[in-house]
């Protein structure tokens, strides 16, 4: 309604759609991982929209990295805790 540009959500949908050929050629288990990466982008649409970057795909990659790094940090903490307990 009344917008000149597609919203961030619409944009993400179309970016995801534009990768459908890429996705199709992946193995099933890799397809699911790719979907998971996109879930990470969906979590931060508000930030992508606010950033208003002309190349939003960069922002989506950053969202994926961010969630990846969160997972890494969480796992690092858990490993450290387990080590502490073990020692």
């Amino acid at each position: 309604m009344g917008r000149t540009l597609p919203s961030a959500t619409q944009n993400l949908h179309s970016q995801e759609g534009s990768l459908s050929r890429f996705r199709r050629a992946l193995r099933r288990r890799d397809q699911l991982v790719l979907d998971d990466l996109f879930d990470a982008a969906y979590k931060h649409i508000a930030a992508v929209a606010y950033a208003a970057n002309l190349m939003p795909f960069e922002s989506y990659l950053l969202c994926m990295l961010l969630e990846e790094h969160k997972a890494v940090m969480r796992l690092q903490n858990e490993v450290a805790e387990l080590k502490d307990r073990h020692d």
Binding site: G2, R3, L5, S7, Y42, K43, A46, Y50, A52, L54
Partner: protein, 753 residues
Amino acid sequence: MIEFEGWLLDLFEDRDDGLVLYAMARDGGRHRLTTAFPVTFYALGKNTALRSLWKYLRKAYPFVRLSRTSRMDVFVRDEAPVLAITVPKPSDLYRVFHEVENRYPSLDYADVDVSISLRFAAATGAYPLARCHFEVDEAGLLLHVRPLESPWKIDMEPLPFTSMYIAPNVNPHHKKPHYIRAVIHPRVYRLGLSDWSSTLITLRRVIHRFDPDLIITRWGDTWLLPLLMEKSEELDIDLGLNREVGRQPKILEARTYFSYGQIIHRGQQVHLFGRLHIDRRNAVSWGDYDLEGAIETCRVTALPLQTSARVSPGTGISSIEILTALRSGVLVPYQKQQAEILKPVDTLYSADQGGMVYQPLIGLHHNVAMIDFTSMYPAILVNKNISPETILPLGKGGSPVPNLGFAIDNRVEGLIPRALRPLLEKRIEIKRRLLILDKWADETEGYARRASSLKWLLVVCFGYLGYRNAKFGQIEAHQAITAYSREALLLSKEIAEDMGYEVIHMYVDGLWVRHPDRTTPEDIFPLIDEIERRTELPIALDGIYKWVVFVGSRNNKNRPVANRYFGVFQSGEIKVRGIDARRHDCASYVREAQLRIIKMLAKSDDPAETLPGAVDYLKRHIRALQRGEIDLESLIVRQRLSRELDAYRSPPPAARAAMQLAEAGKVISPGQKVAFIHTLGKPGVVAWDLPGQPDPRTVDVARYKSLLLRAAGIVLESWGLDEDQLRRLMVTNLRQLRLPHWQLKPINQHQTQ
């Protein structure tokens, strides 16, 4: 000369008398008054063209008064030289204007398509349903009128309406009615529909005897009044529906339009003259705010009650703005020639956004405080002085709008803030009174209805600034409001995080925040005070949730969506948004079950303990469906038709139901809702409004069961029972379900292996 005090009931143009007014005098008398009421429109443009227009009008319409003057043009931000063209009677305006516009298409015009009631309110201060002092001569010619109350006053005397209620016994679009009921308190008439002449004679007697000011109907616009008019002409019995003699009621055609991403259908309307007719089924948001709300809208918008009860809030807001413009000598553009300011593409990217919508953290959260800005967009609009004429390009002074390439001029209050400030203040004052009033006090219901009608006006006032056909819409004003709103929300997020809160969700004007130790309203107030201080916008605590669940998207539950949640406040009040229970297209069979399960969870201190009970209930509910014990009515699904029937390639259920209706001769337009039941076999639906009842044995039980389990799964998932598990549990032995929640898990694992 006669003087009296009374209320302005109705006013309309008249070819002979100019303007006709109906007044309800305090002493009970009803008066028809007239006044010539000359009206003015303006032409703007090149001096030579205006001079030529002057000469033409002098010759062609000698009765027209002409003068050169200047009026404020908000889009130029300056006074513009104009030719003022005054016609002696309102009904002359369009005749003269169309001729002028055809001959001088290069000129711009203003103050043309302005409702007569707005012109009258601007000239005299007397708005529809205002209490006024009237001075009249012996022939009913209005000499002077003066309003005794401002429309912004909170408490007004009740209107001395004599009202009549007429409705058929059933929905005529569904079934054939047998009689109509007419009620004038305390009398009730039951009028059969087989002998029309006796029905019409009785009705005529009732109308003549009680002379109602207000006729409230159900389906009066779309069925009853047109039928009564047709029969009265056929049998030559004049009902006297109008008070005004010699006029037929005015029928406005139905129309379908696109608004806020939805196709809307507005039914045909029947307007009376000298009396007011409201069709409860065709009035905007009648369910929310009833007659009190309709009267409130009428008074603040200065549109006659018959109009204001039926128009969209957008038209209402537009009227308030036009009225303010007329009063302050600002031109009301006829066809606006207004383009967006040129912006670099990255600014356009920043500007072309709506409110800040966060993706919530999916799942169950405890002790979450919900705080929201009070009427955020109108408050920004008024406090930041946003109006077409206050927008300045960067470098011309004013205070810059965050991240956008323009600024706001704060030296004078703009037209739009000036128009909306009293509306906003009135709503805030009514809301304040509601807060301190006892829930059961006499005034509470009326205040709540009026607050609700004002809320609708305020909700749309922002959107109207961006709407290209709005008289005073301007895209930059629209963009500035959302830019300020995003700024306020992000600032609030930062303040909350600085104070140790976690932000669970943010949505346009509200935040859901959680703090490990701050769980009472008193704990939250410092946060609220700080946000209010730094954003300069009013914000309030909506409540603290005992728990709240944010639900993922319908298609992929790992993907968060805004505004899909349910939860229970510490007070015990339940709030549900976006899930089936709140969706209009959900059968009440499903809706009630979902709500009931939420209630079960909400009542318990440990919701997990209620799971076996919830499963039990679902089993019983499904069994009742299988045994045919569920009313067909609670299986009705209502969906809006989004396009013409022949435009569907693979028609969804609603379209298939509409096709059945079309075959039976009932036409459904896009925007209208279709009611249907899911049935077995092809075409899979039966339209509810087909003649005769559908056979209960054909109900598609599996479909309803699946809809039910999906709705229940959404709610129970956070406690470990999702749709798939529920589906399996529905076929396992009931007795096993007495197990506590943690033992349910192994069953699931076992079955998925």
